[in-house]
């Protein structure tokens, strides 16, 4: 049995490493660099009912040890994602986590119902950081009741387990996590980006056409670790952690905090081979640290018992 195999709701993963949504498209580009079947899973780009062009450019800006993005959920729409992207991905031996987005509850429900029927989609990731048109643009993910209700409705129609992706831009992340757990979430993914901004020294204006954008990369790692540490002690569903992961050491830190799998976002842009490199290094690092299996690391920062066989595959 592999040291890296991990079992999560809907997901029997050969390893706990996967590219984060929006940082890997639908995998085509990275398949030039390595066999996508080496990945534990792939979180595909956010899918909406209709195709979207997204925001005007510039859409990215660099910050110290991080980047801002305001892509604006550009995607070819539900139909094309199913017929072209997911169909193409089917050649690989890798379960897909489909990131679901929308502006209305109904949008989420439609995408969730349809995309969850596709055979290689093993789980959904509800992107609740999107602005909710009905509440004047306040993100679904910042009001516990709204997030809970959305989760419930999506759960009703989904054929696969539903993971809810938490936004870090909240006063109380534990309350949000509990709300979506109560709504029936099978797991959590966290964290999405922090809201940030850069201004151009010469013009004084925002660098991003959208003004603000989502901050990702190593800069946000301590915030991600803190939130996973807090949430994992208060929910009974597993967490897929993310936010600034660049190395096998980072992965272990996320596990210690309470994660059961880890997604890699921004680092793919820096090193297209980062995911397979981490997968290769993990067993070496686990041996150095004295762990038989990676799941022994989960929650080690707060758990009393030394050895745990939590969700060993």
């Amino acid at each position: 049995m592999s040291q890296l195999a991990v079992n999560l709701p809907g997901l029997q993963l050969k390893n706990p490493i996967m590219p984060a949504s929006g940082c890997f498209g639908f995998g085509r580009e990275y398949s030039q660099f390595y066999d996508l079947s080496t990945l534990g899973s792939i979180m595909i780009k956010a899918t909406t009912v209709e195709p979207r062009f997204g925001n005007p450019t510039p859409r990215v800006a660099e910050t110290t040890a991080g980047m801002l993005n305001a892509i604006g959920l550009q995607n070819p729409g539900l139909k094309k994602v199913i017929n072209e992207e997911l169909a193409w991905l089917d050649q690989f031996d890798v379960p897909i986590i489909a990131n679901v987005a929308g502006s209305l509850e109904e949008d989420y429900i439609e995408v969730a119902r349809e995309i969850s029927k596709v055979s290689n989609v093993h789980a959904l990731e509800l992107n609740i950081s999107c602005p909710n048109v009905k509440t004047g643009g306040i993100a679904f993910g910042t009001i516990p009741e709204v997030a809970k209700e959305l989760t419930k409705r999506v759960k009703e129609v989904s054929s696969v387990p539903v993971y809810v992706k938490l936004s870090p831009n909240v006063s109380n992340i534990v309350e949000m996590a509990k709300a979506v757990e109560a709504g029936g979430a099978d797991g959590l993914t966290m964290i999405n980006t922090l809201i940030g901004m850069r201004l151009d020294l010469k013009t004084g204006k925002p660098v991003l056409a959208n003004n603000t954008g989502g901050l990702s990369g190593p800069a946000i790692k301590p915030v991600a670790i803190r939130m996973i540490y807090e949430v994992s002690q208060h929910v009974n569903i597993p967490i897929i952690g993310m936010g600034g992961v660049q190395s096998a050491e980072d992965v272990i830190e996320f596990f210690y905090a309470g994660a059961s799998a880890v997604a890699v976002g921004t680092a793919n842009f820096v090193d297209p081979l980062v995911c397979p490199k981490i997968i290769e290094q993990l067993p070496v690092l686990l041996n150095e640290l004295g762990f038989d299996h990676i799941s022994e690391c989960t929650g080690r920062s707060w758990k009393k018992n030394e050895k745990l066989a939590y969700h060993r595959a």
Binding site: G25, E29, Y30, T57, R59, E62, A65
Partner: protein
């Protein structure tokens, strides 16, 4: 095929004010097929700066596995790149994107190559290749000021070369478009790279010609995965059709995308 390789610095020199000519050696040179493609460079081992920097390929020498770039040291990343010394390594991802189609200019015809500032470099390899195919090349190269001018003689060796500076401190004064009009330059194909307003003016001025423009956009991945660098098409200016500068471009045919 795109490769990711640690290339070795063979030379790095300041050839004009804050303009550096950097030559690297690496096997990925064998993958460089077109002028106008670019590479995505990691300029430091640390997270500062975090992202890669896109830089055009200015000269390719497959016989010796060498390629040359010309860049302006301006921000954090390019300033660090300017400090690289002979023997240092630079992490290169490339070659990326689609370059200038040399085959679009027929032997014996005339191609006008118009560059603006730091858009000039990719035109050099282009000019070399056109010349090899017996295309007659004319260069109109615009710079801010005299200090910023580079490669004047190198271009002059290949064909007529007009230098234009905004402040008139070298060559003609004004913009490249003024000079093309004044000199009554005639040509069949136009290849250009430079600031967006210049590209826009050229596209508008020569709707009947065969025009190829190289675009710039802020990039994340550089390989088509992140959707940072998209632009709209002229056919569908408000819909959801798009082109990615990093993979569909950076060179587009005139009339293809909204600039």
């Amino acid at each position: 095929m795109i490769r990711n390789e640690e290339c070795i610095v063979l030379s790095n020199q300041e050839i004009a004010h804050n303009i550096f000519e950097l030559t690297l050696k690496g096997e990925l040179v064998q993958q460089m097929n077109e002028p106008g493609q670019f590479v995505h460079l990691k300029v430091s081992d640390s997270v500062d700066p975090l992202l890669r920097r896109p830089i055009s390929i200015a000269k390719i020498d497959q016989a010796t596995d060498m390629f040359t770039m010309i860049f302006r040291a301006e921000g954090n990343g390019t300033k660090l790149l300017a400090q690289k010394r002979v023997g240092d390594v630079v992490d290169v991802l490339g070659p990326l994107g689609n370059g200038f189609p040399v085959e679009e200019a027929k032997a014996g015809s005339t191609a006008l190559l118009v560059g603006g500032g730091i858009g000039v470099p990719p035109l050099y390899e282009l000019s070399l290749r056109l010349k090899m195919r017996n295309v007659n090349v004319i260069h109109v190269l615009g710079f801010a000021t005299k200090d910023a001018v580079f490669y004047e003689e190198k271009f002059a060796e290949l064909g007529d070369t007009y230098i234009v500076t905004v402040d008139g401190t070298h060559g003609e004064k004004g913009f490249v478009t003024d000079v093309i009009a004044e000199q009554n330059l005639s040509f069949e194909t136009l290849y250009t790279c430079g600031p967006t307003p210049m590209l826009r003016a050229l596209e508008a001025a020569y709707p009947e010609k065969n025009v190829y423009l190289s675009l710039e956009e802020r990039m994340g991945c550089g390989i088509g995965a992140c959707f940072a660098c998209v632009c709209r098409t002229q056919e569908d200016p408000t819909g959801y059709t798009y082109k990615k500068v990093c993979t569909d471009g950076p060179v587009f045919k005139g009339g293809e995308v909204l600039i």
